[in-house]
Subunit: 295 residues, 6 copies
């Protein structure tokens, strides 16, 4: 079971302005093969499908806990997309003026037809996320190798989307995800090392560029965010520290588990888009509804 | 952000025995168009995409909170599938004896090839869940109508899968989901009534059969489980009681919000399946790993 | 069985000019999840799959008849797309001049490669229509709720595509479909009301904007087109008037069945596009063919 | 525009009994790549997309008219599937008895979960029909070659499904479709011959087996059904006789256009399946509904 | 089994410059329904699935040999795409400068996120190639008709993509493929003629435009490249000359088998794209790697 | 460019008998996410997309050469499937006897409808192979990690399918592929070690079971087949020996490049299946065709 907290992981700066095509690109990090939907669902299913858990508790705890963190990454990238789309068309209530005219040329028309200028579980080409993206073989070593690869692939995607978009709000999200995704790469490498004795540290960084080259990520790493495994649970998953320990393969800093989650930030209020009837609540209706709702 | 608790919602009885084809059927309730992946992802995205939230907080709170509950439904149905698959082939480590021979005739061969006799985000025909199943128009009224329909369709699916499988473990899960899914149908109907003044109560039940006809569900409803909206949050989503109130459209009982989550149960330990190298940890390796892990 | 008549439902005004990206957007109304392919196929299959028909003839008649009307909606939106694409590239027969050069930047390249600048059963992102869009549970109440939701979703799509394109030919089609789709929303609401006694009228309009705000639709509603259920059959489906009766939930006007179909208009002649060898019949070949064909 | 008539093309004999796996196989002829959905949609779009129609009227008329006939083929195969599924599970209203238990092993579980033991637009493996199956290049010669190939592929599918199922009701449908599909193969071959002067007659039959080997088809061909192109229109598509003429390439009989459609037969009443709440109308509800509906 | 030779079929001229949207269009010829992936895989599977081979050796040899040639067509079109993408973004190693900024508007964002500005097995809309594109019925006549149609459809696609892109490197590839694909159309027509005695020559060209209208193709045909079937094997597939013989249906020139493959050209060296870490080998790493690799 | 040789890699023993459901399971190794289509296409595209090749020739040579070997693996698994399907239905030419009756219950009905009892590029559930299975990031290190993971996943699939089927012909193929796939796992591990200095040898075997446990594989490894990298080229890809060298991580044996390909075996003649008109060549037709073909 899960508890939800109405906070998100990133304190978004004001966006420079709407950018529907940046939003379309960011979708790759949400609904792409290597997007947050994939990391979330891979680890969630691997944790629920874990056989022989009692013999391998630290591995179970690690995977289950990272799965919980991924939920907050879904939130992070979704809000980044939504901020790029808010205000992207002409606000108003007269359809005859073609308020969505510019959307005809947008890279992702679903943003304007299927959703109210908000995110969907699709990738940068508008192709939907699919359950075929989940790998859960039941073999612990193979699942860990998969997860290590998945996170490296996800990192490559983040790097490239970062290089495509330069809005500060979008980059705040991607920079944060680079750091936290980096933690997950290291975590799965450590797990493989503990399980087999192999030394995977010389493989880092994958791809061949350091997080320090990304200003938003560098700032967070200077605060040590890449060293911490937060425990996303009131009282469970306590054995992952048997894996998440020692030093970071890239900068040699010391890894540590933190028994709380980050404090978080209030999610941004997304402005109404009346031309999309989103949410479609007009003042009188609100009054009437309030009367009914509030008694 | 989310906190994960290492408990699940259902106290599974001992299964009568493995039943791979029942597991395949149960997949519809996990990865089908109307499965728990769909309810989870619809409400999660609708909550993150909510525009004008401050004007319509009770609706936001309701959708966000139900999304959080759906995470536990993913767990419930996944464990039901896993229990039907555990022990379904001949345990052992000699591949030459064809320990998976019976799997050739199984309805879902992915259970034996792609996973270690465990669940995957696919439906009863093995087709993967897809992001096209998510509806998030941004128009509150339309999203609520969608959710109402989605839950009704999900109920029809649960009823039919219940009628296909008779293992007590599977039915414990489906019976529980019938009750809790029933809560969500009522919740979206109430939300539409609050928003518009329409009276949707005469539509119930959809389809035309009462939960009371399902022994496992009836028992839970006798305990009042269909009257409660649990608040899946330490301190947020407090306004949903402005919608979840009044009486139940089917039996007239009083609806109430409970400010905690159900206590839950320890998830079952899933036995190892050595013929699938799941998890593939042999005794010596465990010893060596333990030495490394535990120091 | 069906009879086809070489007329279409809309009298298209002259388009302002080709607009491939508008054509791409219009595709959502043809091959999208909520496009005319979906409404057509849902009602067609529901009518063929109807169990216990003799006990529920008015519902059968209503669904079967609306299915027949949807065939004309396929025609309407297809011609709208085709008119937006006709003339969209440089006419001529010399490939070396790159007559399709501008198509490289078009939103839907299938229009220029797979088809001869004409419609295909795909959506606004070029993703194909799929049979997964058909819902046919066999439970009458649930199918009607689905259909009600489907038509509301389709209306949201039409509204938004209308707001994206401003060519008069495209808007003539979308305006017409808004009105006729509106009839179908009301029809399914009425059917649910007759079946259950629920009152769904306060839900209208969904989304929260009236057809009267769309000039092309308003004009048609002023002529009463939103009040009429045409009987698309020489002599069958006569009992739907038991459902389609009473008043319109939005303007209170009186609903009526008309025992004929609209008169219709000659479909536009689509000009040849020689650079696409569409249709690829050169004068001499026509002469030779004519000689053979006409003897 | 289209008129629908509440008749179907085949007079179904009583089925030998339900056969869910035969139904699953028959789905290939409905929703498969070469199923009736494909022939219907290919010709429908080609007729609506036809460029330079006035120069090539006989070809337009032929394609448009065959498209209209295909609608009745959808009906034919759908009813065949429905007859194979009716009565396939235990009738009753008590879910606890697992009335759908046998469906766990059925080839197509969608028949029992998504539909009420009726057809869906999917193929014999449960994969949905997709718009990618539509070919509409705009080049008349190429479209005709496609159609010729498509019908040959469809014939191969019909032959093989015929060889898989031996229920008389199923075979009545497939035998009929073999004959009428055979007409379409010849029609597209004739169209190519008229257009180019090529002689395609020596290619017949494709695959290398005559319709006369199929008792149900032979009987219909003895009545000359393979020689007739019915005109599925009250007054349009009158020029196709310029193509559909001469002799049949296989038996040399004379081809002719008939200016009416076949008389047709009442579609079978599909019995209720209460365990699926299909249609879910109980006696009292019917009474109440009747009172409301009939006044 | 196969031998690979590090040569490609086309001597690429210097491209005029990068053109990502041309690359996106060219993808249709690689991963589209009628792209080289489709021709390759159709003939490969048909050759491996051939029943009764000893009775029909020339047909087997023809199909198997064309399959082998198609491998070189995959190479050709892939390099054409890669040349259009090389240099398409700002080279450099500082992600903060948003070196991929222009990619936000590119037609195919996978080129910049999933790949290192190189080809992928997707079509011009970014939809992946699928195994559903393979037809292998086992009936020789039907497979040949399919192949004839497939090559004609592929030709239409090549013609249209040629008309969309005017870069000399892209056109060198498409012109070459027009000629060699033309050989395959004739080959399958000849095979059908040999098998059945039908005369298909009057159908040519399909679509209705000659290769001679394409300067790059015309030049190659003037050298006779359209008359030659190369034998892509050291010593096998020797009987295809029993089919590939006689005259070309379009220009009457004499067809002949050549018992070698074309000499070929060195594939272009694709420049590094450091902003994509492609290949991500920095000088020091190369030195260290060289030391390790070269000892 | 490629040369094809009419030999295959495995000398198939006589199958015990047809086994359609074993064939269906084997499809996973052909068209599944981890099947031979995936390995073939991943390495083919990576080799064609290789940037900065001159700096990293040994890596290019290794990937390009393995790609070439994968073509022979497609052949191997396809023939294994075909052997399991040959004779699986009642041979004969009278469709009325329902010769394909047993196919109604087969796991993969495409084998009997779409193909002539032969392989298709689909997986064990009949879902088609898709281009989304190709990973080609352009970053050499990441591509190698992917390939290492892909081969490990492929190995898990082979192990499990081996455990499902016990026909000697099927196991001959899977045993062979286990050995050769094992070579590829080691090759990509070696490449990563050369590139980065990491030591991956302790990860082996993945999953945790040795090839020696599989009799057919053990026999081949006793002959040293796991130590050899064959050069699938007359004269190219000569630098891969700079990577493929040293010792095998599992048994310490010495690795070596062999400058030829394996000798190979004649592919089995697949018997005709007249009930499927595969190939559909009757004696008289053969005579007539021979007369035409042979002159």
């Amino acid at each position: 079971m899960y508890l939800r907290i109405d906070k998100i992981a990133v304190d978004f700066p004001e966006p420079k302005g709407p950018s529907p095509d940046s939003a379309a690109a960011l979708q790759e990090l949400l609904g792409g093969k290597f997007g947050e939907m994939s990391t979330l669902m891979n680890y969630t299913f691997q944790s629920l499908n874990f056989r022989g858990k009692s013999k391998a508790r630290p591995y179970y705890d690690l995977i289950a806990n990272i799965a919980a963190e991924e939920l907050s990454h879904i939130e992070t990238i979704t809000y980044a997309i939504n901020l790029m789309l808010t205000g992207a068309t002409k606000r108003g209530t007269d359809p005859a003026t073609a308020p969505l005219k510019t959307a005809v040329d947008a890279r992702n028309t679903y943003h304007f037809i299927a959703s109210g200028q908000t995110a969907l579980p699709v990738d940068s080409m508008g192709n939907p996320w699919t359950g075929m993206n989940v790998f859960s073989s039941g073999n612990l070593k193979l699942d860990l190798i998969h997860n290590f690869f998945l996170e490296c692939g996800a990192r490559a995607n983040k790097i490239r989307v970062y290089e495509m978009v330069d809005d500060p709000a979008a980059r705040a999200a991607v920079g944060y995800l680079l750091v936290r995704g980096g933690v997950h790469i290291v975590a799965y490498a450590k797990a493989l090392e503990e399980l087999t004795g192999a030394d995977m540290s010389k493989l880092f960084p994958i791809p061949d560029i350091s997080n320090k080259k990304f200003p938003e990520a560098r700032k967070l790493e200077e605060q040590g965010l890449h060293q911490i495994m937060f425990r996303f649970s009131p009282s469970d998953y306590t054995e992952m520290g048997k894996i998440w320990k020692g030093t970071h393969p890239e900068d040699g800093s010391t890894l540590r588990v933190e028994d709380t989650i980050p404090e978080g930030f209030d999610p941004p209020e997304l402005a109404e888009e009346p031309q999309l009837t989103a949410p479609g609540i007009d003042p009188e209706m609100i009054a009437a509804a309030a009367k009914r709702v509030l008694g």
